[in-house]
């Protein structure tokens, strides 16, 4: 039965064999002994539903206050996701282009004069075992203009070089229009324009019908290059055949840069002998570079921007945290009766505090999860618009939720303390 003494009537004076002398009179002295008090206990698995209960009763308020955190987390996830995607894209691009392209450039001598490479350098480099291809561009002291009416100073910063016919395949570059220099065109006034040079000159046809004024001669445009990610310095150049440079423009055509494609397994080995091979007389003046390294460095450099945007996200997150603290303070004021009731039902101060911290944490985690999803979605959309593969690192998502959890717990701390310190009788307003 529920009651131990179901048969007792209300008027019976309770007494017990253990306590024969004291009748329960109003003036009776209390016993010296005391039985131990029962302990309050809140199961860990009851905390979650308890936290959800508070939020469920005010759904709109919960959504609005979680939105602040969601925004902050979404910003941070999107910043990290987009920069990761961009980096992954760059790395994929570098991998596609190959990391086995090296450039040989005459550096500067100790006295600071410009040095050119020996004319035989490209041929010498080609003789290195693991070198698959080597193509040079040569010095042509001329400028290119859209027509002979353009003033000489308006060079559009386009440099004219002579180029080997193998250059495009060595760079694994592509043509936007027309064709590259070939054995058939190298002797004639034919020019291939880099992507930027073509747009600077306003040339969009490469069928040979467009003429440009190059070195005081008309040259016909036979090709326009796509951008060259591994040799961006060529995007603003006009390339002509070496024989044409020598015979038509009387240029030296001595190599100013050699692009070397090596066996991928022997890049380092080739790199170590390249300087001495290109200019045996003065190897210290030759600069060897791997353009893929430069691209990788560029990917790393974007981290500076990332820091700024992350800071912005952190500010949004902080404001979101303040919003949660605010809402929780209001909740504590509104739910005094509930707090009093729970205290009357046996909740300790710690239980009350735990409930409110858990509620704030749950609010923030809900916001954080929504933010992580939103940030991931933003990344996906942004990446899709740029034809990248979206990369949202899993640790970023986990960290986002963990940060939200910590934020919510901190934001809930003060309201929870206020709730816990509320005297039960005052909360119930029974006195």
């Amino acid at each position: 039965m529920r009651r131990r003494r179901a048969s007792d009537t209300a008027v019976v004076e309770p007494s017990s064999a253990l306590e024969p002398s004291n009748a329960p009179e109003p003036d009776s002295a209390p016993e010296p002994r005391s039985v131990p008090a029962p302990r309050s206990r809140l199961l860990a698995r009851d905390i979650g539903p308890l936290a959800a209960l508070g939020l469920r009763s005010r759904p709109l308020r919960a959504v609005l206050s979680a939105a602040g955190v969601a925004l902050g987390i979404a910003t941070m996830v999107a910043v990290l996701g987009i920069s990761s995607s961009s980096r992954a894209q760059l790395v994929a691009q570098i991998d596609a282009l190959g990391t086995n392209l090296l450039t040989v450039t005459p550096g500067q001598s100790f006295s600071g004069q410009t040095v050119t490479l020996p004319a035989a350098a490209p041929a010498m480099v080609r003789r290195i075992g693991p070198v698959l291809a080597a193509s040079a561009i040569g010095d042509v002291n001329a400028n290119v203009y859209r027509s002979d009416r353009i003033p000489g100073a308006n060079t559009e910063a386009i440099t004219v070089y002579s180029a080997d016919t193998s250059l495009l395949s060595t760079l694994q570059g592509h043509l936007a229009r027309g064709r590259f220099l070939s054995a058939a065109t190298v002797r004639y006034p034919a020019v291939v324009l880099g992507a930027d040079a073509a747009s600077a000159l306003g040339v969009d046809r490469a069928d040979g019908s467009v003429l440009v004024w190059l070195g005081h001669r008309w040259f016909s445009v036979v090709g326009i290059l796509d951008r060259l990610p591994l040799a961006p310095e060529l995007d603003r150049t006009a390339l002509i055949g070496l024989p044409a440079a020598r015979h038509l423009l009387h240029a030296s055509g001595s190599p100013v840069q050699i692009y070397v494609r090596t066996n991928p397994a022997s890049v380092a080995a080739v790199q170590s002998v390249l300087a001495a091979t290109a200019d045996p007389a003065a190897p210290q003046d030759v600069a060897i570079a791997n353009p893929a390294d430069a691209l990788t460095a560029r990917a790393d450099a974007s981290a500076a921007f990332q820091g700024l945007l992350l800071g912005l996200g952190a500010v949004a997150l902080f404001v979101g945290g303040i919003g949660i603290a605010n809402v929780m303070v209001i909740a504590v004021l509104e739910r005094r009766a509930e707090i009093g009731l729970r205290r009357a039902l046996g909740a300790t101060r710690v239980h009350i505090g735990t409930q409110f911290v858990a509620e704030a944490a749950l609010l923030a985690v809900a916001g954080g999860t929504a933010g992580a999803v939103l940030g991931g979605f933003t990344t996906t959309v942004y990446a899709a618009a740029r034809h990248w593969n979206a990369v949202v690192p899993a640790p970023v998502l986990l960290a986002a939720v963990a940060i939200a959890l910590a934020l919510g717990a901190v934001a809930g701390l003060y309201p929870a303390l206020r709730a816990a310190r509320l005297p039960p009788a005052e909360a119930l307003r029974i006195i």
Binding site: P14, P24, P26, R342
Partner: protein
């Protein structure tokens, strides 16, 4: 178990609310409620009824004097210990019911066992049993907003019962109800008492005082009479 057959013992309890001059709410009050009693505490407002209830319910500490609930001395207990006594030994019924609006009747009643470390399924089972005792088994899934005032108070009484406390303290349980419903609630309390529950009702309603076997009258913080009807 209820030690020594005493549900509640107050000895020489004085409560002063600080101020200038301090307000004395209770003056050297001693009383004992035995197991199975049904007691009404009556008096005009300001007589100290509510303070007495708060101290008996360990919601407040007395300025001086001793309190024992089911044999457990309250004085030296930390706040945590008081919570344990409230949760384990006392059932409260309030004038305003204090039901949680977003929970159904069953879950409201089950709250009584939340702070005892009892698993949810077991809490629900005990709650269903308590609801049946107050005649609301059919309304278990209704929320307080869907229940009448009398039904709400029945849910609150079921919540006070669910933990099988040593004593139920009811603060103006009929105060928010119309006369007829109030009588129903009173009849329910009497029936529960007849089944063995120890109940103290604090009220200013003389009708309740007449209906209970024992009536304690308070005035200005002092007991002026403690009588049992024949």
């Amino acid at each position: 178990m209820t030690a020594l057959g005493r549900a509640l013992e107050l000895a020489d309890v004085t409560k002063e609310h600080p101020g200038a001059p301090p307000v004395v709410a209770l003056r050297s009050v001693s009383l004992t409620v035995g197991e199975g009693e049904l007691v009404a505490v009556v008096g005009p407002s300001g007589s100290g009824k509510s303070t007495l209830l708060a101290i008996a319910g360990t919601l407040e500490r007395p300025t001086s004097g001793t309190v024992r609930v089911a044999g457990a001395a309250v004085e030296d207990l930390p706040d945590r210990g008081l919570s344990g006594i409230r949760g384990g030994r006392i059932g409260f019924v309030f004038q305003q019911f204090f039901l949680i609006p977003s929970l159904c009747a069953l879950d409201n009643v089950a709250c009584a066992l939340l702070y005892r470390g009892i698993p949810a399924a077991e809490r629900r089972r005990a709650a269903a049993e308590a609801l049946e005792r107050v005649g609301l088994a059919g309304r278990a899934r209704h929320r307080p907003g869907e229940l009448s005032g009398g039904e709400c108070q029945r849910v609150a009484i079921a919540r006070a019962l669910a933990g099988k406390p040593a004593i139920i303290l009811a603060d103006e349980p009929t105060g928010s109800l119309d006369t007829a419903t109030g009588r129903d609630i009173l009849a329910l309390l009497a029936a529960l008492n007849a089944d063995g529950a120890t109940i103290v009702v604090v009220t200013h309603n003389p009708e309740i005082a007449e209906a209970t076997p024992r009536t304690i009258r308070l005035r200005d913080g002092e007991i002026i009479s403690d009588g049992r009807s024949a």
